[in-house]
């Protein structure tokens, strides 16, 4: 699905990703954990092509294409989806209009027909129900005045509608209570079909009780410093990231 090789990236001249390697096969779920400021969100932004995130070296191959050479919207149309840690509010553009435009742009890129208004509405309603988002949220401005939890559920709702090949979930669990966490996790699990791949970025092990990862990676100071199976997450839960801090400092020195 995606091969990330020695990826280096900087923001405003400051190097954040310092040679990151990651290989994900179709259907796999990879969790990325790590302390604040490690570069987890940066990875998502670089993969999605955000302005201001300079790629300094390395390569990313996504479904056989050179991802780093593509425009933001082309990456999305090719099947990459990023659920934001902090979803953006867009007053004046309704969630409905936004998602209809988005779904159809991606469908057209896949060679499918655009959905009619009625067909789209049917799908959108189903997706909302799946993440427990009242239908009224379709009429509101994108994320406008949504609570933290509602924003996260709205991201998962979008993911369900867009049927991407690779989903990057950036702390989709942060700020959620247990019920909301389950809703988000169920939304994600419903999309696991053996072909779709996931990068689940989380600061805590909690989410991984619900979304069981095939691999767990620890990202610290711009690099993957340790990889393992689901048990690694449990280990981190117990020991925290302190050991990493020491190690990262050592590596820096």
């Amino acid at each position: 699905m995606i091969h990330i090789k020695d990826l280096r990236a900087s923001i405003e001249g400051k190097e954040i990703l310092k040679g990151l390697n990651l290989d994900i096969k179709p259907g796999e779920v990879h969790a990325i954990m790590g302390p604040n400021g490690a570069g987890k969100s940066t990875l998502g932004y670089v993969l999605s092509g955000r302005d201001g995130y300079e790629v300094e070296g390395g390569s990313v191959e996504f479904k056989g294409q050179d991802l780093l050479d593509m425009e933001v919207e082309d990456r999305a149309q090719a099947g990459l989806f990023l659920a934001f840690q902090y979803p953006v509010e867009i007053p004046g553009v309704s969630n409905m209009e936004f998602m209809k435009e988005s779904v159809n742009a991606i469908r057209l890129a896949r060679g499918e027909e655009a959905l009619s208004a009625t067909d789209f509405l049917k799908k959108a309603k189903a997706a909302c129900q799946q993440v427990d988002l009242p239908l009224a949220f379709l009429k509101r401005g994108v994320n406008e005045g949504f609570s933290g939890g509602e924003k996260k559920r709205n991201e998962i709702m979008q993911m369900i509608l867009l049927e991407p090949s690779l989903c990057i979930l950036d702390e989709s669990d942060s700020g959620l209570d247990v019920d909301a966490l389950q809703v988000v996790a169920n939304g994600v699990n419903s999309q696991r079909d053996g072909k779709r791949s996931f990068i689940v970025v989380t600061h805590y092990q909690r989410l991984l009780d619900y979304i069981e990862p095939d691999y767990v990676h620890i990202l610290a100071d711009g690099k993957i410093v340790k990889s393992g199976d689901a048990s690694l997450a449990k280990e981190v839960e117990k020991t925290g990231y302190a050991w990493l801090g020491a190690k990262a400092e050592e590596a820096d020195a």
Partner: protein, 427 residues
Amino acid sequence: MSQWLNQVIDRASSRMASGDDWLNPVRSNALHQLQTQAWPGRRTEAWRYTSLHPVEALAGRAANESVNVSIDSDSFAVPGLDSVDILFVNGELRTELAQLDVPAGVHISLLSAPGDAARTVVGQVFTQVKPERHLFGLVNDVMATEGLIVDVDAGVKVTRAIRVINLVTDGTESHNRVLVRVGDEAEVTVIEHGAGSAASMNTAFAEYQLGTKAKLEHYRFALHGGDAIHIGGSHFKMGESSNLNSTLVGYGSQLSRLDVDIEHAAEHAYAKFNNIYLLAENEHFDLHSTIEHAMPNGTTEENARGIVGDNAKAVFNGRIHIHRDAQKTLAELNNRNLLLSRRGQINTKPELEIYADDVQCAHGATVAEIDDEALYYMLTRGISRSKALVMLNFGFIQELVEQMPNEALRNWLQPQLRERFVNMEVK
């Protein structure tokens, strides 16, 4: 003094000398004002960014007769709108008033043939709401021989909207007048719907008198374009605890200029005034609004938002004047603009004059930029850059469209605005 205005004065004086127009006493005052007011030039503050050259160029040209001009009623149809429609073409009435299904408690009559009751309304409203300083308002005072009078009885709540449609056609000069009295505790919706893009000159002024606790939902659609010259105004006098919700939409044209005055003449009145302008090509749109808080405890919320593309030019001047006795006034004026092209122009000037000390006021004007984060978010959802820009910018005025209380009008206006916008070049 312009030659065009001289012709207006000559025509008006000879008509008034010969005729037995019952409004002559009022009109002659306006005529006198016209004779003494200076023709606005570049140094006249109220016309600083709007040249009257197109009007001056009309001098000496004979206006076309408008008889038998055929009109396509689709051009002003609003699907699903429950309204009583009164159509004027080049200032001439085209609707049989007797055939109208007018709601109980509403009285519709004509300036040319008012009954006794309507004469009382005219006496209370005609030139009584509109300030004298508007030069073209004075022109309208002397030239509008026809006009519509709407009188709503006290306590009557009218659900069906009253819509006045003013169309203009090629080579014509016309003057429309609307006078509305909303009785105490009455509720009504009035729509002024103007359109036409052919070379023409039209003035259209409306005066509204709101009684105690009266409620007026008002729309003014100035959907002109091309070579049309459209100069007009909507003027409101607020009664005690009255409520005004007004939306003005302007498309601009060779010369479009509107003046809106809202006078808080009694306490506890609430006025909401939203204004949208969407200009392209060489269109020019100028809106001057003046809110007079003469009495205490009044509230005004004014929002003007505009998008200017191509070579178009917008002028917005929003003045709020809080008199010394108008304590506890709440007044907000916000003007946001989006400039899509380097050749476009926006001149915006909010003016706040406060003479009372216990008031809450906010005002501001900005020329907005595109929100990069929102744009990026949309791109990550596969939406193309050009489409995202359209959606983002359109959202900016969509917010005001969504605030229009009338659903049929919203549904009619939205796709129109969108289409206008999509055809503008974002550069």
